[in-house]
C-alpha cells in the first residue's frame, strides 16, 4: 500500500522556486490500478518520482508497504517505465531487458526465460538482437516496458508508457496491461494524458492541475475489474469520463486570475 500525505515539493531553480506539488494526499491500495491525469506540468512525473524515491518531498510523508520509498527502492519493489524509453544503445533489445535481471542476480536460465516471456508479451519477437537505433519509437517504448516487467517488482510505475504509440497498438497494449495486472496482481501507477485510457484502465483516477501541482479530484471507478474494450461505450464509462473532464476543467478555471 502506498500512502502519500500532505506532500509538498518545491524545486529551487535559478528563476526562483517552482511549486511542483502542493498538499498532495492520496492512497494506493495493494492491487490498485491508479491513473494520474492532468495537463502538462502539473506534477504527474514528479509525484511518481517521489513515490520511487527519486525525488524527496520538501514536506509531508510517503510510505510504501510501511517502508520509506527509499527502503522500498532498495528492496527492489519498483518497476519504473520512464517517459522516454532510455534504452542502452550498446545493448540489443534482449540485452536491455536482461540488464536489470543481471543486476538483480537472476540465473542465466531464468534470465533467458523471463526475457522470452516479456518479449512475447510486448510482441517484439524477431527483434531480440536488434539495437535500439534499429527500432521505431513505439518499439523502443515497448522494449522499455518489457524491461520493467521482466523482474518481480510489486509496484509498476509507468510514466506515459503508451504516449508514443498509435491508437491500435495502444488499445492492444492497454488490453494486455489489464491482463497482466489481473494475472500478477501488481499495483500499478500509470500516468496518461488520455481520458479514455485512464477510465478504461483504472480502479482509481487521480485528476491533477498545475501551478501549483495539486490533486483536484480522486475518482474511484465503478467499472467491473474484468473489462474489455466494448466497455468504452457503456453509460458507466461515459459518466466517469465526464467527471474526469470536469475535474480537469475545474483545475483550469482556477488558474485564471
Amino acid at each position: 500500500m502506498i500512502s502519500v500525505s500532505d506532500v509538498n515539493l518545491t524545486f529551487e531553480t535559478n528563476d526562483g522556486p517552482v511549486n511542483a506539488l502542493k498538499n498532495v494526499s492520496m492512497e494506493v491500495n495493494e492491487g490498485d490500478f491508479v491513473s494520474f491525469i492532468g495537463p502538462s506540468g502539473c506534477g504527474k512525473t514528479t509525484l511518481l518520482r517521489v513515490i520511487a524515491a527519486l525525488e524527496t518531498p520538501t514536506e509531508g510523508r510517503v510510505t510504501v508497504n510501511n517502508m520509506t520509498p527509499d527502503e522500498a527502492r532498495k528492496a527492489r519493489q519498483y518497476g519504473y517505465v520512464f517517459q522516454a524509453a532510455g534504452l542502452y544503445p550498446w545493448r540489443s533489445v534482449s540485452g536491455n531487458i536482461k540488464l536489470p535481471l543481471e543486476i538483480m542476480g537472476y540465473s542465466t536460465s531464468e534470465k533467458e526465460d523471463r526475457t522470452r516471456k516479456v518479449i512475447d508479451l510486448v510482441e517484439l519477437n524477431g527483434f531480440e538482437k536488434k539495437f535500439p537505433w534499429q527500432l521505431s519509437g513505439g518499439m523502443q517504448q515497448r522494449a522499455s516496458i518489457a524491461r520493467a516487467l521482466a523482474f518481480d517488482a510489486n509496484i509498476l510505475l509507468m510514466d506515459e508508457p503508451f504516449g508514443a504509440l498509435d491508437e491500435i497498438v495502444r488499445d492492444r497494449l492497454n488490453g494486455e496491461l489489464l491482463n497482466l495486472w489481473a494475472r500478477t496482481r501488481k499495483t500499478i501507477c500509470f500516468v496518461t494524458h488520455s481520458i479514455p485510457e485512464a477510465v478504461f484502465l483504472s480502479t482509481k483516477i487521480v485528476v491533477m492541475s498545475p501551478r501549483p501541482g495539486r490533486i483536484t479530484d480522486i475518482i474511484e471507478s465503478t467499472l467491473p475489474k474484468k473489462r474489455d474494450l466494448n466497455i468504452r461505450d457503456s453509460r458507466e464509462f461515459i459518466k466517469i469520463a465526464q467527471r474526469v473532464r470536469e475535474g480537469l476543467k475545474a483545475g483550469q478555471t482556477e488558474d485564471v486570475f
Binding site: R49, A84, L99, I103
Partner: protein, 289 residues
Amino acid sequence: MKTSYFANKFIPVSTIVILIGVFWYLVAVPMNSDKVSRQFKNLTASEHILKCWSLKKPKLPTPHQIITEMVNTTFFKKISSKRSLVYHGWITLQATLAGFFLGTLLGILLALGIVHNKAMDLSVMPWVIASQTIPILAIAPMIIVVMNSVGVTGLLPKAIISMYLSFFPVVVGMVKGLRSPDQIQLDQMKTWSASSREILWYLRFPSSLPFLFASLKVGVAASLVGAIVGELPSGAIAGLGARMLAGTYYGQTIMIWSALFAAAFLAAFLVFTIDFLQKITLKRMAIIR
C-alpha cells in the same frame, strides 16, 4: 566506395604533399646558397642549384636526402647497430608505450576518484590543470636528475615524463565520459537499486569509451613527445631524442631531420592504431554504425 575514397582522401592528400615538396625544394636553394658559394667556385646556375640540393651538411636538407638517409639507416643497418634508425626508434617507442600505459592508468584512476568522491571532485582538478601549465622542458631535467641520483636510469625516467604529459587528456576525457550518461539512465539504475560499482560497469564505463579513445589519441602523441623530451637533457646515447641532439652537436642536419620524420611517422602510426581499435570496439558495441 573505392572511387570516393580515392577522390576524398588520396587526391587531396597527395596534392598537398606535392605542393609542400615543391615549396621545400624552392626554399632549399636560398637557404643553402651561401654554403655552396663558399665551397665551390665557377658553377653554372643549374650546377649551383643541384649542389644546393645535395650538400653533405646543408642548412636545410631536401626531402630526397632525408628519405635516402632514412632508408639507409632503417633498412641497411643492423637493427642492433647504434646507427640504425630502427634501434633508436624502438628505444623511444618503449618509453612512449610504458609512459602511455602508466599515464592512461593514472588518468583513469584519477577520473574514477573525481567522479565517485566528492572531496576529490573538489580538490584534484586544479592540481591536474596546474601540472600542465608547467613547461615540460623545465621539469624533465629535474625528473631525470632526481631519478638518476637514486639510481633509476634508462627507460623509467623517460616513461615518467611521458606519463606526466599523457595522463592529462585521459583525466579530462574520462571525467567527461563517466559523467556522460543522462539522468534517465542513472535514475533507472537507482530504481533497480544498483550499486555504484554496477553503475560504473554497466553504464558509466561503456558510455565513456568514445571519450576515452579520443583522449588516448591525444595522449599517445603526448607520450611520444614526452619520451623524446626525456632523452634530450639526459645525455642519452640512444633514442630519437638523443639522435636529434647528436645531430645538433655535429651539425648533421640530415640526421636531425630523419629522426624528426621518424618521430612523426611513429606518432602517426600510434594514432592510427588507436583510431583503428576505436572503430572496431565502438562498432562491435554498436555505438557507431
